[in-house]
Symmetry: C2
Subunit: 680 residues, 2 copies
């Protein structure tokens, strides 16, 4: 089977080569006027400086955890888990770094292209996004397959070695990816929302200047935030999802093979299958990027949809043949599990769309409740967010039971992987969003003609449907992958049952259920505090810098960038550490039963809170946009002021705490998987 | 043992006689000036009219459920469960009715007494509250013990009959109590908060008149709301907690007795013990009411503290002797479980106090964040609420494991009961609060001299510490009682294990975890919608009624009362029905494993959301009070306006959804206990 693994590694290399080629296309495009280059320079400089400082800070964390892992595994002589961990962390960091480098080149080049052609602007923005997408899948697949080859070379590639040390050590890679992702999401989320809130509340409400106005001292910090939060943060996030989903399925492969009576000689194929499917997904993703092209008149949304839906369309039959080719047994059952995950993800996406898009009842109700003030807007939005948990939860429960009945725990893992198999192109579309957003900001700050900004606005407005789909997949796959990792923990910890009638398990569920609340609280408070500081700084600059409002003086952008940077770096540490320390502490102090309960509790409330917060935030955002579009009095009306309050509260909900929770639940499960052999 | 049960019934009768005597004292007191009598008449009329209509609506529900219970149990020939259910519902309704009748007499008499003496005013208000307290414990103990005697007379009082049909049928009483309580809490909560928000947002912010000003069209509805929400709603709430805690312990008595090897002849004593302890609690509560008296100079808080802490002080040693007298075995282990519950409840209360009182860091942070606007105030309050879940969860987990290790599942049930054993006096203090609050409103609306209002304000301000303690006990006991009922369900459904590795169980946990979100969403939206309607009505009256602001015309109070009444009655039904229908549907369609998972999920997220919502609401409330007390610019400043928004969002959090969740988790567990024999 190692030949197949080498081939999979080849697809990883191919993805990286493709990414490098796309990056050169972006770099070669016209960067626009000197003013545009200057503005883009500020943004790029701020973003890269933040990433550098963030990685420096995390270096200590990586070294510390690697040392602990080496010490803990000293007796078994497998300090290789520390190596895997460091490699995972490095790959995650590289994916974020490459993606952001290209995104901060693509933004200004998209603005420049928009001066003449919307088709060309879409091409640049999407090409920039596809670099991030391909880096993520390329590094993920390459890292996992090379480490797998290395560890089977060291420990042997018989069944006992693979189910024993090889997969145990390989899970370190996932641990590295997940922990960096959590810091990146939380740090990026704090950065971007502190800047966004500061810029909006003072700029729009108090001073009355438009979005992205260069007079706003927080304008650059806001644009930097889009990159560090939405590009680097999201890249690290999806890198960890992808790796976690593949690893979870690999660990559950042999128990499934044994349960359906596959002869020993073919059992390993079930471990390789998830890697092979990931490799296939890379080929399909690369192919699908060529579907994304538009003309001047056509709706750019169609081009993006064609890419994403096209990839799914090709992926399903190819998956079937791949399964039949790689493993014996009932290929339809395995395909069914994957498709169930995919359909479930689509169902969650439609539900997300219903609760958060401006065209349906829930958002209308929030807009209407803004007429009686901010308080009723908030009550209404919180209610919508809470209600929006119902349908996705039922879908997850159904997918869970359905994919289990098709292919056991392995089926659950494949369901999670199903949503992520074409992540290469999905992420390209996701990363396209902040590039188009940034391009619009650069137009505004460079005083380009109105029609250029209108073109970038059109580009920015599309991709929402695909982004909603991405969110649905992110939550659905997080739930299924967390449950797969939870099962992988039980396999690795040799737990035969986890009985809720045992009060130790129930106490674990309680404490685990609390962790997402505590974690969200820390993230929210960090954003609140940093935003408060930002608001005061922006107010101060408008008061103290003469000529700023008139446009004769320049704002002190650097101070606002600094506030966001400091807040993000300081306040990301505690929530990130909690996620690692809590499962370790519970596992070693209270035992594996309590740790199992903890994981179940974290997963359930983590998914629910993530749905609540993401959807409430999205709904408030679109309620505000409805009013800005003319409903209930339009811009500047009391209803608008009320809706801005709701939107601002929703910012840390949907862009800091909410998406971080998806990582949290998997990170805690991966920590449990890694320490499982020690507490078994 | 039946002699002991008869004696326990006697303490129930004693409590009711005591309540009747106290009610006559209140009724005989001076009701004040004609204007005061008129205002109080409006309030009383509105409150009693609401209660009447609410009970009429619920009558259909009671008849429907009783019919279903009869039909479902037809084959077993035990339609007695329907009788028990109807009796439980009736007792709950009676407790609410008596309590509110007296509270609406006591409010105006407290105002009248406050014209001359604060000691006398405290006496009237507390006496009024104690009627509610004694009705609740008297009806609870009397109902349970008489039905127990009846059912043992019918089925026999041998072990098999008691563990079989007797306790199964008796659980119908708890079902009746819990379902009425849920409707009362949700309906009362919608009523009171719609009125409160409408009165405050227009009165204070838009028109600028003080709290309880008679010119405010929603003033009467607001005062009525205090009675239907805080008196009748809370009475029904504690009635169900009390009954649920006793019943849960009774069901788990024999399994515990068997597990510690008690001979069969003495096993029933463990079933009777919870009833006996409840009877003892009544005696201690009655005695402790005499400790509550104050002088003109002393702090009235001391008097209330003396009553509550005095009752606990006497209860603990008496409990020890009662346990030794009633049951064989290790009395200290059982006492230890109860005390663990009591200490846990106190711990939760202190944590609640820390996160919600104006003197500590969290509320200070919310006040300070109001300086940068409503959005940062809200982010800060949401973060405080989420953070406040941590310590109580750890306490609950510790109490759970601790009381289990002392006395098994029975110990968990006794822990829950421990917090509620002196509920007679605790509830007297709780009900004292809204009476004093109403008394202040009547002073304002009757234009009594400033110093009278100052006296009632002093009375209203105390009782906060004891109320916080009551909240801590409510949440702690809800968690332990729900877990005890969860165990009782397993006993009744003959579940040997509930394995989280089984995806059906895990799917149940997911769906169960979602229910509190959906439920809260319905409650919040009901308040939001009704408050919006109320705001528009109050705005309309100020605009359309000439002379209203000048005090020459009278507001149309009845229309505001009507808005609250209609909203409460219409919108309480769906959330209440959900709580009953969901466990039945899951139990019959997906089986007992899924139902067990559902209960675990409901309990965990229910407790967490209740803590989050109650504490966030309390913290916002006190942050606003801090600012009104002069911090950050004081009344009318921008920070104050921001804090009012937070306080308003907190209203449905802390007074509608939050406390209802405590009932929800127990109601769903009781439903499961009742249907357990059918799905076993």
């Amino acid at each position: 089977m190692n030949t197949l693994v080498i081939a999979v590694a080849g697809t990883g290399v191919l993805a990286l080569v493709f990414a490098a080629w796309r990056a050169r296309i972006v770099a070669a495009a016209d960067p626009g006027t000197p003013r545009m280059i200057e503005i883009a320079g500020y943004i790029r400089e701020g973003a890269m400086a933040f990433l550098r400082r963030q990685y420096q800070t995390l270096l200590y964390f990586v070294i510390g955890v690697a040392a602990l892992l080496t010490a803990a595994n000293w007796s078994q002589g497998t300090s290789l888990v520390a190596l895997a961990f460091a490699t995972g962390a490095l790959c995650s960091a590289l994916a974020g770094y490459f993606g952001m480098r290209v995104a901060t080149l693509a933004n200004v080049r998209t603005s420049a292209a928009a001066r003449t052609s919307i088709a060309q602007a879409l091409h640049i923005a999407f090409t920039g996004g596809s670099v991030m997408g391909m880096c993520v899948v390329g590094l993920g697949v390459l890292g996992l397959s090379l480490l797998y080859l290395l560890f089977t070379a060291i420990f042997g590639s018989d069944i006992a070695s693979v189910t024993g040390p090889v997969l145990a050590v390989l899970s370190g890679f996932s641990l590295g990816a997940s922990s960096i992702a959590l810091f990146a999401r939380v740090g990026g989320g704090i950065y971007t929302k502190a800047a966004d809130i500061g810029a909006d509340l003072v700029g729009k409400l108090e001073v009355g200047i438009p979005e992205d106005d260069p007079r706003n001292p927080a304008a650059i910090a806001d644009a930097v935030g889009d990159n560090v939060g939405d590009v680097a943060g999201m890249g690290a996030d999806l890198f960890e999802s992808y790796v976690g989903a593949i690893l979870g399925a690999m660990i559950l492969g042999i128990p499934y093979a044994v349960s359906i009576g596959v002869p020993e000689s073919e059992q390993l194929n079930f471990v390789i299958l998830p890697l092979a499917l990931a490799g296939l997904g890379i080929l399909v993703s690369i192919g699908s990027t060529f579907l994304v092209r538009t003309s001047e008149e056509a709706n750019p949304q169609r081009a993006l949809n064609l890419g994403v839906f096209g990839s799914v369309f090709f992926m399903i039959p190819l998956t079937y043949f791949a399964i039949r080719w790689v493993v014996p047994g009932d290929a339809l059952a395995l395909l069914g599990s994957m498709v169930l995950g995919l359909v479930g993800g689509l169902g969650i996406a439609f539900s997300t769309e219903y609760y958060t898009a401006g065209d349906y009842g829930p958002v209308d109700a929030i807009s209407a409740s803004s007429l009686t003030g901010a308080a009723t807007n908030l009550i209404s939005g919180l209610a919508v967010g809470m209600q929006s948990t119902a349908v996705p939860t039922l879908i997850i429960a159904a997918a869970l039971v359905g994919s289990y009945s098709l292919a056991g725990l392995y089926g659950i893992a494949l369901g999670g992987l199903g949503m992520l198999s074409t992540v290469g192109i999905q992420l390209a579309v996701d990363a396209y969003g902040p590039i188009a957003d940034n391009a619009g900001g650069i137009c505004e700050m460079s005083n380009l003609p109105r029609e250029v900004r209108e073109r970038t606005d059109r580009l920015d407005a599309v991709g929402n449907t695909t982004a909603a789909m991405g969110k649905g997949f992110a939550i659905g796959s997080a739930a299924l992958t967390a449950l797969a990792l939870f099962s992988a923990f039980q396999t690795q910890a040799r737990l035969s049952a986890l009985d809720l009638l045992n009060p130790v398990v129930m106490a674990g569920v309680f404490v685990g259920g609390m962790v997402p609340f505590l974690f969200s609280s820390l993230a929210m408070r960090a954003v609140g505090d940093a935003a408060g500081e930002m608001i005061e700084e922006v107010r101060r600059q408008f008061k103290e810098i003469p000529g700023l409002m008139e446009g004769t003086a320049t704002a002190d952008y650097a101070r606002c960038v600094d506030i966001s940077t400091r807040a993000a770096l300081q306040r990301m540490m505690l929530p990130g550490l909690l996620a690692v320390v809590i499962p370790v502490a519970v596992g070693f102090l209270a035992g594996k039963q309590a740790l199992g309960g903890l994981l179940a509790g974290v997963t359930v409330t983590g998914v629910l809170l993530a749905l609540f917060m993401s959807n409430a935030g999205g709904a408030w955002d679109n309620a505000k946009k409805n009013i800005e579009g003319g409903a209930h009095g339009g811009k500047g009306s009391p209803a608008h002021q009320a809706a801005v309050v709701g939107d601002t509260v929703g910012d840390p909900f949907k862009d800091t705490a909410g998406p971080s929770l998806n990582i949290l639940i998997k990170l805690m499960a991966v920590v449990a998987v890694v320490i499982a052999p020690l507490i078994a």
